[in-house]
Subunit: 116 residues, 2 copies
């Protein structure tokens, strides 16, 4: 018997049990919400949008967003770990670019939603 965290009985057990098998693996849902979590920050959205226009190095992005290099670098790391951007070192500079073109599609769909 699994331990129950819930504090009530279902009103419509039939509906609940019909829906239950249609739910994706928890595993997958967490990956999904982690993905949205990465997008759910104003700075990171700006970075993604900027990099969609052109690859840039950290200093350029810092000037564009009017932030410190450190703050930008921290957020780029989050995007890097999430595999949304890619870093390439050229001399003293590190150039970042988008790693995944799904992202552009999702950003555009979400913008449609927000603008309606």
């Amino acid at each position: 018997m699994e331990n129950r965290r819930t504090d009530c009985e279902a009103i419509n057990i039939d509906i609940v049990e019909k829906v239950r098998p249609k739910m994706p693996e928890m595993n997958l849902l967490y990956e999904l919400s982690d993905f949205f979590k990465v997008m759910g920050d104003g700075t990171r959205i700006q970075l993604l949008w900027a990099l969609e226009e052109s690859e840039m190095c950290v200093g350029d992005l810092a000037v564009l967003l009017n932030m410190t290099k450190s703050a930008v670098s921290h957020q780029l790391k989050v995007l890097r770990v999430a595999k949304l951007v890619r870093a390439e070192k050229k001399g003293k500079n590190v150039y970042y670019s988008l790693n995944d073109h799904h992202v552009k599609l999702i950003l555009e769909k979400a913008l449609e939603h927000v603008c309606e």
Copy 2:
């Protein structure tokens, strides 16, 4: 002169100034990241996914997700404020359903991305 928060000069001023006018209004970007913030939580993603299958009341959702009614209600409120779900009172129960069919499209696109 605007106050500078940044701590460096741009390496490629030409690129920065070419990209700058292409950036959407900050305003819009914040709406966008707020939208993703709402999606960026495991519980809320589960709720959205479940409601895509069938409308349900709070008790049903609590049983399905194995959580307390209170926790579910709190998260439903977040989704309600974000206009992603709609509540309808029927007798003693409150039935929730998806309010926006863009959401399904975005969830599916994001799932494609995560599954690749």
